[in-house]
Symmetry: D3
Subunit: 248 residues, 6 copies
């Protein structure tokens, strides 16, 4: 169900075992070839496709489109929430629904820069509401195998405005992708280091990471399909119930 | 221009005299007859119509759809930001753009519960950035005359899920309005008092205020048109420049 | 009752239906002709006159004299609370008394810049304490008709250090009003705009808005009397009880 | 000078070497015999007497009457700021004046529960404004010798609503002191301990500490005079200048 | 260099290209067999061994031993910082040193629950200080290959109080490891899910994850050695300098 | 008991009447002759000696080594927590243990700059947990008589890096004291003032206050012994119980 389209009486009539699904995106630079709202458009498309498949198991909120994008602010047009307001926004959504008995919440993320904060938002909520159910993941975590299989460039994982994201864009919103500006980009430390924090104005030339010149709509369709399938499987289990058992 | 559809290079090529337009809505109960996302849908429609009319003068962000709706939380499905996270969200959008030279910002509000907070957000921003230009108003402030003229019920001002909002809904998103559930509602203090704070579970029976049974799409079209015209006039002046002079 | 003059045992012996009355003012520039403490002096005078009339229905706290006055800070001597500390101060007063059973609270405001924040303070308190009673209003909301009737200048509403406030000053604290410096002042946008945020160093020459040269103590006495009458009526109903009923 | 009585132009014409004097009090229980506003009344009287003596060296703000009184909240009528809002209130006063060039600030305290927080407020301000001058002290720190000399009871230091404070009350506001309810009170740990935190509902029977039955207006006059003299000496040196030199 | 052992003059004489190394641990339950301070003891040992190897390249602070351990609080004795105070603590250390010209900072983490927060702390610092160098990593990220090679149980990655951590304990502080209580533990979701947030009282029986019964000091020595080598290599490059170049 | 060395099962088996002992220190400049970690080293030594004497009455946490040291930040190497994060850190430790039934907490302080904040931390905790027991004191409060007796210089109270602290250093960690750099230092206001806030770069030449050239290990041993004895007596009474009675 799409929460925004319901009346309050509709919402009140729902099963409390439904999973509240909160997509999180961003509005930030995606290189010279993709629109600022890229992450939001993709994760919203995934979430809506999931809702269309299992509407009775999912209560979909609008996408939290203002992400934690401080590492992109050197590029004009990028917007970033503060860390604290981002976390509070996610938590406010959950805390509004908990008193009405909804008790299963899942954040579906479309922007890597939100990952840490989604984790923190959920951990704090779990501390305050230990009997409720909380989950979060990037949609990209459900399609790593397909991504690795379909990408042709040397970068086999999803990065920022890369072959993979650009393919998703060509599949989902081709009118907003600048095919004439598709670009390969991305610097690395020399010597190789594990833990350095660099912002995108340091580690790219024009804002993207990876081999976007190899993007195609067909690759995007495959990646999208895998992501939707994975999220459907995950959320179905959350809605229907799962147990903790056996040795790890 | 729609910010989300631009690349960062597009954004960087814009005139810095463009007005950044930030619509603010809510996701909260609107009686038995209107969807939870009503305020967001209306203000987004107004903002997009304005942008379509004066695209070179306006840089439109996505709508901040999570409003300050604590007074509706007794009704299932309503969501509310905390006061502080709402204010920080608005401010974060502005603060992301200020370093790139954008200096005119206008919040267009679609939810009465946000008014105080939009004011505070803008006042604080003005303190920190005294040479920048800040404005905010509800779209409803631009159509009070038309509202008073077209409404047939005894309530001649726009209220929550009333004849006026329901008319806008029938004009803009008729498929989401429950015509069979249109309802007149709303209690008042006896004796009459000016300053009491009541929440919607106290001052309505089913969540709406006013005479929604009288709503029509035609009334909605007139109100919408007046709001768009008013906002276009306001923002054109902000973009083109205005002065302070004469006695008040 | 004046809370500050009671012992704790006196306070403990009061009826819990008494209305806790919290006046809020400011210490900020009021043009070349009025003292910085103007708002505080006026609202305190109104509140004390109300308390003198209905002492058994009102528990009067000292005036919160540090208001939200960021828009006046360009003028030397003006003080401003931060938004958050102002709100917390109001809430702390209420939260100190709630555990002892006091459950009716009314903020009487004397400074326009506090209005948004009083609203937010009360809304948050209502969310946390849904069965308690909260109200707030400017004293000026109770005398708009008299103000419109007695003012001779073209500005018929109460503004900052205007004909109306200066008249109140001449009535209540004439020794602190500089009759030789009474001044007409105040700029407006051209073309006319609804929503722009301007500070007093932008929209006045010397800090006041309106036609203070027309002020008289007699006008002040009439305005004061109307304000006191209005607040007495409002608070009597809050103390004695009121109901919500009928259609709005 | 009394800041609140000045116009902004008066304030702007002052020497920037004047000491901004900020009195801090409380509104909290003071036993069965003294009014809730005791601390505020005393410190305000001291501060006003100081201002009357050295008006050109001191810029006196209104008293911050809402103190940190959590340890008294078990007694009806007591009010307490939160720790953070109290500190922010003090700092907001200072930060409003710093940009206009005022650079000497002194907090004169009348309530022991504020001492820690005044210290913290000043230390943080000093970190942010290392070239400005900050001081704070209780008025009671300037009259310890006289207090020890005039008190007849076994408690020779100023405590809460004790022989000393009650004497000050009989000197300064006799109409608000309940002579018929003067009371000796105050428990101690057995065995004796240095560092335990106890609130007044634990360590008194009716809220006061010490031997108030021995209070007289004459003792109060002597204590008051000593406090005023001490503060005058301190602030005169701050206004006129002092140096740091010699070995500690 | 160990910062705590230096005088301020020693610190002031250091090269500003030295890497400030901040270890972060926890004090939280580690099953029936390991002490609460396990993470702190291990990461401190690694950091001290690194400092011993490259003392002129590393300025070692004491370990931040209070971690983010909300997911362990159901077990007695576990302590947890709030998310915000943890982040502020890390940032305060950095912000104290930045004004003195130190500009390279690396957080070495010993507790998985701190990872998100270390990331956020560093990202915020980078936004405020874009020309400074920030890095962070778990010591465990430098020994994944050795861990996979030496572990005999079916769990080949480092987990909480597992074969790997218990081996490190037997190597570094055998007197604090309860050999008689070594335990295999850890539940998993069925069906398998990616993103669920579970606390240790839900997903273990006695608090540990993995096959601690297989732990030996020899394995611990190998893991420790690999971690130290890896961190030495990383920090040497940070101290000596590195560049960003080439395609990612 | 040393908390960090216990398993959670050990902790869970303890008597809930044990006193949780939280030492607080600093990492800040201590003149040219003492290490930055001086306060932490001393207070940890006292706390460990106390724990060794009455292990069954005390549950000792690691030392909170990052203190509030803003007044020392002008000297390289000094670190300071923010006021709020310091307070939250102390409170987080307490709040982690309260739900498990521990109800007696004592902060033993080794750094004067923490005193105000320890007080505030404990007062707030007491407000939230009125039936629990809270105490705090500097270790130096227990040895004032011995300090006054053994010091030979004109300064008879413990100050910063003075004869007393340097003597403790020579007793406890002589290898870290620079005997060749022992220094007498410390400026005072002229004329003498009570309440001024000065930082150490203003009121010393090289960072210390007092007559460190007179320090000896023998004096340090006596001071240390007195401090340990005093704390043992205090905490024994807290663990075994005490009452409030008699007149103050």
């Amino acid at each position: 169900m799409k929460l925004g389209e319901l009346t309050w009486q509709d919402a009140d009539s729902l099963s409390r075992d439904i999973v509240v699904l909160i997509p999180t995106g961003s509005l930030e630079q995606h290189g010279p070839h993709m629109p600022l709202l890229t992450d939001t458009l993709i994760v919203t498309a995934v979430a809506e496709a999931v809702e269309a498949r299992i509407a009775d198991k999912v209560l979909l909120t609008p996408t939290v489109w203002l992400g934690a994008s401080g590492h992109h602010l050197a590029f004009a047009g990028s917007l970033s929430a503060s860390m604290s307001s981002y976390v509070e926004t996610i938590q406010a959504i959950v805390q509004s629904l908990l008193p009405h008995g909804f008790h299963k919440f899942y954040v579906l993320n479309g922007h890597g820069g939100n990952t840490d904060l989604n984790s923190i938002a959920m951990r704090e909520l779990k501390q305050r509401n230990p009997t409720a159910t909380f989950g979060h993941s990037g949609y990209f975590a459900f399609c790593t195998d397909v991504v690795a299989a379909v990408l042709e460039g040397p970068q086999k994982e999803m990065r920022h405005a890369c072959e993979s994201e650009a393919s998703l864009g060509l599949h989902l919103f081709p009118q907003l992708v600048r095919r004439d500006k598709l670009r390969d980009d991305g610097l690395k430390t020399e010597p190789s280091l594990k833990g350095m924090v660099h912002f995108f104005d340091e580690m790219t030339v024009e804002g993207s990471l990876g081999f976007a010149t190899l993007a195609t709509a067909e690759k995007g369709a495959k990646i999208f399909s895998a992501a939707v399938d994975g999220v459907v499987t995950e959320l179905t289990a959350v809605a229907d119930g799962y147990v903790l058992k056996g040795y790890f």
